[in-house]
Subunit: 339 residues, 2 copies
């Protein structure tokens, strides 16, 4: 496959041009191009330039608003509510984050709800800035329904991502971000296309029987990671991400998507909890950071890797050498950007 190598500045420019040409506002282009560049910088190509066509088609369909100006509401001493106004999640996060940070610092803990919000990016991108500001953060988001409940057969839950961020001393934050499904949907779609079986435990057919036939899973439902324990996490993410926030739940999100079928993001609720790590140390986070480093040091000495280390390892390389993307994608993006 022909590849094109781009510097990170070129990534930003290609993304910005394509999004601007699709009618996205200048402020939103800045946020979204930065998001895509951070994903490529961290070797997360699946959430980088690859997503631009989906952003564009979801604006073209009239479903997503690239010029959205999110409405941020001070909903209580520890509460921030963001109506994303049908815009993309990073724009809504950027709008609500300053109030969330201020409240977490003054109250010790605060929670932000995002609704009418379209999330097509990795959740780590949304909460890493909170940890860069010194806060511990938890994020739950639902997506459109593809996953059955434990013991069931009908898609009631999205692949519902869950993320956690922890600040570090003099290092990028430790941030993990996981779909709570046993596998990415794309992995099952590729197996179906190529005629391969998938591993056990990824899904059930439409009658609820376990199967390794990817086409049967696509007609049936995916399953949670980690058996019944993972399925409980999925349920929690749905309750916090969709129900607590007042966002669409995963079946509502599925129906909303199906009415457009534009290949773009799900309309997803998101719930972000932020905690001041100095909260229980008289506001002084130093002791927390010291103990975090001791724990991470013990993990590394034991031969373990920290979640997100692969992303951090990629940074010096991509900043120096740039990133490679398929030429077909590059051509598509430059065409979207006006040539």
């Amino acid at each position: 496959m022909d590849q094109v190598t781009l510097t990170l500045d070129e990534v930003r420019e290609v993304a910005a041009k394509a999004l601007a040409a699709a009618g996205m506002s200048a402020r939103n282009v800045e946020i979204m191009a930065d998001l895509v560049t951070r994903a490529e910088r961290d070797d997360c190509h699946a959430h980088g330039l690859f997503r631009i066509p989906g952003y564009v088609t979801s604006m073209a369909s009239g479903r997503c608003n690239g010029a959205a100006e999110p409405a941020v509401e001070d909903a209580g001493p520890g509460l921030v509510k963001v109506d994303a106004r049908d815009g993309f999640a990073p724009v809504a996060h950027a709008a609500g984050r300053p109030m969330l940070v201020e409240k977490a610092r003054s109250q010790g803990i605060a929670v932000m709800a995002l609704v009418n919000n379209y999330n097509f990016n990795a959740l780590w991108c949304d909460i890493e800035p909170l940890a860069e500001d010194g806060l511990v953060a938890i994020a739950c988001a639902n997506t459109r329904a593809f996953m059955a409940p434990w013991g069931g057969r009908t898609p009631l839950f999205g692949t519902n991502p869950f993320a956690f961020a922890c600040p570090r001393r003099d290092k990028p934050p430790m941030v993990f971000d996981m779909a709570t499904a046993a596998s990415a949907r794309g992995e099952i779609m590729i197996a179906a296309r190529d005629g391969h079986q998938v591993a056990e435990g990824l899904g059930v057919d439409k009658d609820g029987n376990p199967t390794t036939d990817p086409s049967a899973i696509l007609e049936g439902a995916q399953l949670a990671f980690g058996g019944y324990k993972g399925a409980a996490i999925v349920l929690m993410v749905e309750l916090l991400g969709a129900i607590l926030t007042g966002g669409l739940n995963s079946t509502e999100s599925f129906e909303q998507f199906a009415a457009y079928n534009d290949g773009g993001p799900s309309n997803a609720g998101e719930c972000v909890i932020a905690i001041d790590p100095g909260a229980f140390h008289g506001g002084d986070a130093d002791r927390f950071l010291e103990r975090v480093e001791a724990l991470f040091g013990a993990m590394l000495a034991d031969g373990a890797r920290l979640p997100g280390d692969r992303r951090h390892d990629a940074r010096p390389r991509t900043e120096k050498d740039g990133i490679a993307i398929p030429k077909a994608l590059y051509d598509q993006l430059t065409k979207l950007g006006g040539g």
Copy 2:
């Protein structure tokens, strides 16, 4: 095996007598006997009367204080800090809970940290009362180290339980509670005793190699549920339960236990987040509860069970028929209680 059937009132009385005879204060006996009775009522025998001897030996060793009066500190607008003063977790929860509830209602969200705290009970018992008071709750607790990090071999984490509670309309709350290890330690100990192999994925030997030999796992380390995703959850529980709160981490807890080796609980940090479900609905939880019931109804219609349903199903039965325990345990408990 000879069994003895007890009414729930008799459970409470047997527990109370044994704990009082071991020197526990009257107020703490009341809380702990109620805890044990709730566990037996819900068919959770492993956290019921079965635990009484461990409570007793951990007081006899001088490690745990049965007469502890927890110190509750108003640590910030959204923060409650409880120093359990070497007492048992349910006593500390009972002391801190009213302030946590008040803060969650007035701020929208609040967090309680518990330190110098001994948790020998199921975490659902600690947070179910929050959901009975109408709050959504998340709890993370560490325990003494038995579990390796992902890719490692050395026990750095406890079986670190994670729990979540959600209020329901006119029904007991939905509460789940999971060890984040792939299996209970007791399950591996029983297999070692009986000479059986265990399933794959439960642990590694002391060199970090996967094994199904239970004795090798007991010398090595247990593993997280759900592979690398579950391992990330384990890490989060450690960071929130131990590090954020200022409690002992799991290796410190292991060392503290080893110095006594009294068969009792771990010295565990606990972190409990409580959220007002009406927070993002102008303080009105009705819309939240309505959507919770719609989601749970769809799950049940699909043939799924809700987490905790087995516990709720047990209640009418145990309230009517009582519960059966081994006669040897009954004899041990009545002897502890003075005959």
